[in-house]
């Protein structure tokens, strides 16, 4: 086995252990939450006009998917099913497979969050370099200030502001849902999906941009003070080559954060999805917690865990490619 193969195998094994540990932790954690799935629905049925007896009978029927076995046995069954790729059946969806529900919501988290992440990373990194290089100028100061300000503004404030301006007041962009057209691979549908994603993507990008800018600026300033830059300048390298040297070295710390962000995006962005009524994984997770849908909660947490671990492994492996020092 080559060195790369051994490294990959080791990381995969470690990843599996971490997935098991997190799956175990979340399994017991979600079941430790007070309340049970039937309680909330019982109350809803009462409010809908059912008698207590009817409401209880309906809860028994609809929430029959809630396991009443002892926890260790439930845990054993969960791991056994998980090993076979089965995430279980949702209680709040009366037995619909959790994988199906998550699969339905997944694209509507990946599309806006991934787009927002890429946009914010590209703009943030470029602005960070400028802010660092021109840190003594007015433009550098303004860029840094913009990063600090947007990084400090709460998500819901930015989301509500964009919603108010671009939807409610100016009627420029749509709000709610994912498209105005029936799904299909045609231009109107894809165009409408893009239109609907603009506000969530902009919100995410705007909020993340500040973090990337400040991190990149700090990293560039650190690299600017390195001896090898001074030596290179003394050798008379061109400004473009100098910028490449700085960029390649300064971006390394951000690369790990970017990889982890790719993993974390599967958790969705609850505030953004909620404000723009965008039906992604964040909204789904919120509903699962509210209804105490243990299997759905476990499934969603597991997806986030696996994604973060996979992204981490990928980042580690890619790091060896982009940073020769790690290969030594």
């Amino acid at each position: 086995m080559t060195g790369f193969g051994r490294r990959l195998a080791g990381k995969l094994a470690m990843g599996l252990v971490m997935v098991w540990a997190v799956a175990t932790f979340t399994f017991f954690l979600v079941r430790a939450l007070p309340g049970n799935p039937g309680d909330v629905q019982y109350e809803n049925y009462i409010l809908m006009g059912m008698s207590p007896g009817q409401a209880q009978a309906r809860v028994n029927a609809v929430y029959g998917f809630t396991s009443h076995e002892p926890l260790p046995r439930q845990y054993g069954g969960y791991l056994w099913q998980l090993a076979q790729g089965n995430l279980g059946q949702s209680t709040s969806y009366s037995g619909v497979p959790v994988a199906h529900i998550i699969g339905s919501a997944l694209p509507w988290t990946v599309i806006p969050v991934l787009s927002g992440l890429i946009v914010s990373f590209l703009i943030g990194v470029a602005a960070g370099v400028v802010a660092a290089v021109k840190r003594s100028s007015r433009w550098g100061g303004l860029l840094s200030l913009s990063g600090s300000v947007v990084a400090g503004v709460p998500t819901f404030v930015v989301a509500l502001l964009l919603l108010l301006v671009f939807h409610t007041e100016w009627h420029l962009l749509p709000f709610g849902g994912t498209s105005d057209y029936e799904a299909g691979w045609n231009a109107p549908y894809v165009g409408s999906v893009i239109e609907h994603a603009v506000l969530p993507v902009c919100t995410y990008a705007l909020l993340s941009y500040g973090g990337w800018l400040l991190a990149m600026k700090s990293s560039v300033i650190s690299v600017l003070g390195d001896d090898f830059i001074l030596a290179a300048e003394l050798r008379g390298i061109t400004p473009v080559t100098r910028a490449r040297y700085i960029g390649r070295n300064a971006i390394l710390p951000l690369f790990t954060v970017l990889a982890l962000s790719f993993g974390l995006m599967f958790g969705g962005s609850i505030f953004i999805e909620n404000t723009f009524d965008y039906p992604g994984l964040g909204s789904l997770l919120l509903k699962a917690i509210g209804t105490r849908d243990y299997t759905l909660m476990s499934g969603a947490f597991l997806l986030i865990t696996v994604a973060v671990i996979a992204a981490n492994i990928l980042a580690d492996l890619c790091y060896t490619l982009i940073d020769p020092r790690v290969r030594r």
Binding site: P34, R58, V59, A61, G64, Y93, V96, T168, E182, N186
Partner: protein, 606 residues
Amino acid sequence: MSRPKTLVAAVAAAVALTASSACSGSAKKINGGGSDGNVYTSIDANNPITAGAPMNPFNASPNTFLGYDQMQLGFDKKNPADPNDFFPGLAASWTATDTGLTVQLQPNAKWSDGTPVTLADIKTSVAVAYTQGLAGPSAATANPSAGSLEVSGVKDLGGGKIEFDEQPGVKNLYFTRLALSLTIVSDKVYGSQVPADVWTTIAAAQGPDANAAKAAITKLTTEGKALAAFAPAKDVSAGPFVIDHIDPGSAVMNRNPYFYDVKKIAPKQVVVRHFTGNEQIWSYMKAGELDSAPFTAMPTNVLNQVLGAGYTRMDSVSFVGASIAFNEKVAPFDKTAVRQALAYVIDRDAVTKVGEPVGGVPNAATTGLIKAQSDTFLSADQSAALNPYKPDPAKAAALLQSAGFKKDSSGQWHLPDGSAWKITLQAVNGFSDWISASAVIANELTGFGIPTTAAVTTDFATYKKEMGAGKYAFGWWLVALGPQTDKAYNRLYGSDDGFVYTNGQITHNDSGWEHTPETYAVNGQTVATGPLTAQLSVTPVADQKPIIAQLAAATNQELPVIQIWDYTRVQFTLNKRFTNFPKTGDEALLANPPGVWMMQGYVQNK
């Protein structure tokens, strides 16, 4: 291609796609909203769109919509004087008989595939109801006197007449309303999901052999699980609309050309939009995108914005009230004088103005019912005799002093044992009206000399669990859930208060969290609240007045809860694309979803 050129090309492609979405005619636009007057856009408050959920009304998160594609034999008018008063649905008319109910189906009742609604559909629907806890002994076991839909058979009398036979020996006052409220599904779609021997199992569940009945109920419930998860490939509806498709943000329904009264249905399409909370509904309304919208608790400034967007407000009675409940096991709330004193301190007008300024009316007098309902049952003299507990600090102070409380020099009240009296008022996260109102009440009580903290529980599941465990002594609670009076009083003197049914008899134990006494002494009479509540469920509405007079007087005197406001059902309509909406005062219509308005000839193209 160089990198900048690639980037430019990608941006150009995205812009072109976006632009083409506005001008292409080849794709089917679903969320018509602004431009197509024939598309009716709304929100189902009880049923947000849930991505991945089946088009199955029996699922806990169903993607079907009452009054549009989900049909019943009739639709409840929520008439407090007649619980069996319904709008026609798939049943054109009905007659209650000594042995059950005879229903005349609509002459042209058809499914969206063009086939007629038949006895097989009704029979399958009843069988499904048994597997879902919506009918049968499983419900009756829990509370026999409350009754459940006990159908022993469904027969075709010919000419579209269907007979529902009530189980011999059972006489349920609400048999008609329960039968008319059944969700009717297609036998072609759901028949295969119901076991062939289901009626044998139902008969066993209704039989005299207790063990066999129990086994049959378990069997029905087990069979119901698969049915609740069943995902039909397409919607087959007998309602005015049929689901075209569901996407994560909306359900799109086309007018059903086979609907029995299709000439009355003006919109060619209905779009029911997804929402996750009140704010989304407000945003849709501020932008004028909804043709009608359900009530959501909203502050006055939002109401003004909504009205400013062109919406018309329609108010109707909502049979539910907000109250503060006591755990009487916790001193000093076990003392009637203390509860009465608190009622005199809380200014319900002021609290409602902040907590529920749009959808609430300050409660007139705590009776266990909302005012609109208590006025139906109580005489003018009886209503006048109720104590309204108008804010009166002097009376509150006198009551506390009579109970042994003392006020110190700083104005703070002390318990009879001399210790300082502090109160925590519990509300639930997400219930914005309760939280806002808690702050006002806490201020009022603190100002009176009882330091009060407003606390919030993380969510309702936790609240319910902890309330049941006796963790809260003073917290918010919904009461007066009508229009059926037995249900309203069950909220106060039911299982939460330790009244349980054992072998058909009502008994009182310590299992609830309210811990009120088993009986009250009111005007020299003993009022047994639990048994009287149970009695309501087997007493015709016309004969309920004496029972309600006792329960209302007892509740008003003893205050197991302090009712703060009666909710008002506020709805909004936009007369921009459609006209002829119901108006304030059309109580029966406004108690139903817009699909029912349309069935009655309302909502026409503008």
